[in-house]
């Protein structure tokens, strides 16, 4: 976020001053601090991590209900069960059919027990894949919402092959001949997140994060002190601006000044606008192009060094560009 953007936010916030909740006030203060310092501190970043985890943030089903006229949740993996922590279905958005899938957190303790706090089991990922294939069969775009601390690290999840379920999704999503658009709504936690995030375009909400490991996990492994999570969060570079600068994501969805939880409708409207924009681009392409571009995009992920010229040669050779022999 550059200075002008922050300036703009502050103005927005001030115009919202009448509704001023404690949240907005504290956010305002935080942003002003950022502006004065010229750069954010680990503590600033940490507030955004907490914002990403705020239990009042819009959930998958809420976003869907905001952006569709009609939606039918479709259940089940057809082999073992239906996972309430990873939901999906088909909806009409401005009259156009779209398949949605996403992690689903609860709003309160009771809901969260049912939703397992958005930690999905293998059957959730298998349902997601089933619905993705259903979307492909009928030529519908797929929109996914990522909001999980991770895949569930439990005995039953291991027994039923959580690794296999995520792995299969990664492979099969690469092949889908439809537009796939992904949004990190809040927490984008590791394998559990990427299991439904192999998209042609991937976006993050302004206060979301997306990371290979939770900051707490990183802090306890590398610093042997989970309370150093804020430092780890900063070191992991897991926030939208970081990932955008790495070229790992394609854009950042603005949240209302106080955070997404202060205005679900506004947040959802921004998401809807992005879906429409992305579809305008992606629907120009054939299914084969979409799959190929998605695959090529992920094949190019990673940073390393190598001897002069060899990488280019390698990919040239494999993808038939400038073929010599």
């Amino acid at each position: 976020m550059d200075q002008t953007e922050i300036q703009k936010k502050i103005q927005e916030l001030q115009s919202l001053a009448e509704k001023s909740s404690v949240d907005i006030q504290s956010d305002l203060k935080r942003l002003q601090e950022k502006l004065s310092e010229g750069r954010v501190t680990p503590q600033d970043l940490w507030k955004r991590v907490l914002l990403a985890r705020n239990s009042d943030r819009p959930t998958t089903l809420e976003v869907i209900s905001h952006i569709t006229e009609q939606f039918l949740e479709l259940h089940g993996d057809r082999v073992f069960g239906d996972d309430p922590a990873l939901v999906g279905g088909v909806g009409l958005m401005d009259g156009r059919p779209i398949t949605f899938i996403g992690h689903q957190k609860g709003r309160n303790m009771k809901e969260n027990i049912r939703r397992n706090y958005g930690w999905a089991h293998p059957e959730g990922y298998r349902k997601a894949l089933r619905l993705a294939h259903e979307a492909e069969k009928f030529g519908r775009p797929l929109v996914t919402f990522i909001d999980t601390a991770g895949a569930y690290p439990g005995l039953a999840a291991e027994e039923r092959g959580i690794g296999e379920a995520i792995a299969r999704n990664l492979k099969e999503f690469a092949l889908l001949k439809i537009p796939v658009i992904c949004f990190i709504l809040g927490e984008g936690g590791s394998g559990g997140a990427i299991g439904i995030a192999v998209g042609n375009e991937v976006f993050m909400l302004e206060n979301s994060y997306y990371s290979v490991i939770s900051p707490e996990g990183c802090a306890s492994i590398l610093m042997r002190d989970p309370s150093k999570a804020p430092e780890a969060a900063a070191q992991l570079k897991m926030q939208p601006q970081d990932l955008l600068s790495f070229g790992v994501i394609d854009g950042i969805i603005p949240e209302p000044p106080g955070g997404a939880h202060t205005d679900h409708a506004y947040t959802a409207a921004n998401i809807k606008q992005q879906i429409l924009e992305s579809l305008k681009r992606l629907e120009q392409k054939t299914g084969e192009q979409l799959a190929r571009e998605r695959m090529t995009k992920f094949l190019a992920m990673g940073r390393f060094v190598e001897e002069e010229g060899s990488k280019q040669n390698f990919f040239q050779r494999l993808f038939g560009l400038n073929k010599k022999n």
Partner: protein, 292 residues
Amino acid sequence: MALFSNLLGRMFSGKKPAPTQVVPLKDERTFVAQKHSCPACHTHLDEGELERNLFVCPQCSHHFRITPVERIKFLSDPGTFQEFSSEVQTTNPIGFPGYEAKLNEAKAATGLADAILNGFVQIDGRKAIFSIMTFKFMGGSMGSVAGEKLTRALLTGIEKRLPVILFTTSGGMRMQEGIFSLMQMAKTSAAIAQMELSQIPLFVVLTDPTYGGVTASFAMLGDVIIAEPGASIGFAGPRVIESTIRQKLPEGFQKSEFLLQKGFIDAIVSRAELKKTLGFLIDTHMARLKVR
């Protein structure tokens, strides 16, 4: 990395490379730490005898962890291994504090550039590609280099119509590379998707231990998945699970035999049988490709 010749460079120039001289890595086994006794059955073991037995305990069949070089020796025809993609080298993509130092330490300890080694081999005369991970290099953690090399092994298999055999061992993704390391899961899986379209066979050999993002990507995507006996294989580690469910895990949880029973691997094959099995799998999976 000077240890292994840069095959890929030579491939581009069209020259046929000579077989590479391989040098053993430092010991990856728990053997020494256990004072020359088997960690499973506590029998006293002679190192020479153990090596002749492919580092499998003659008493209880405990499979010791072995190095990539030993795998090459036990599973491929002598002198046929030719490394490739060694030009891919590790950097510090997100500027993670202390990463360089850790890398240098691991390089010094293993003589390898990173946790994975690619090469062409022959198995009783059948051509194949090996991509072998090692746990000794930062716990076999998967960063950009491991992902890239694995991807090159897979894509080279497509290009040359050769079967690819992956040997996995990993503690998970390399957190020092942040999001780039997470992306390796999608990257390697996309390469396997590409293989799927090309109908080139991928065989995975799971070895002790294989965890985290590796299990949740290429390790579970083989056309045939073999495990060494008694290997620990899972997504979440046992300690994480115990702290989640707040109870002790059952005996044998996440072992090869558990995965076989749960339907996630095709077969458990002892190290002594593995070369023959891989040859058989190549014969049964390459027949159509050879006809063409």
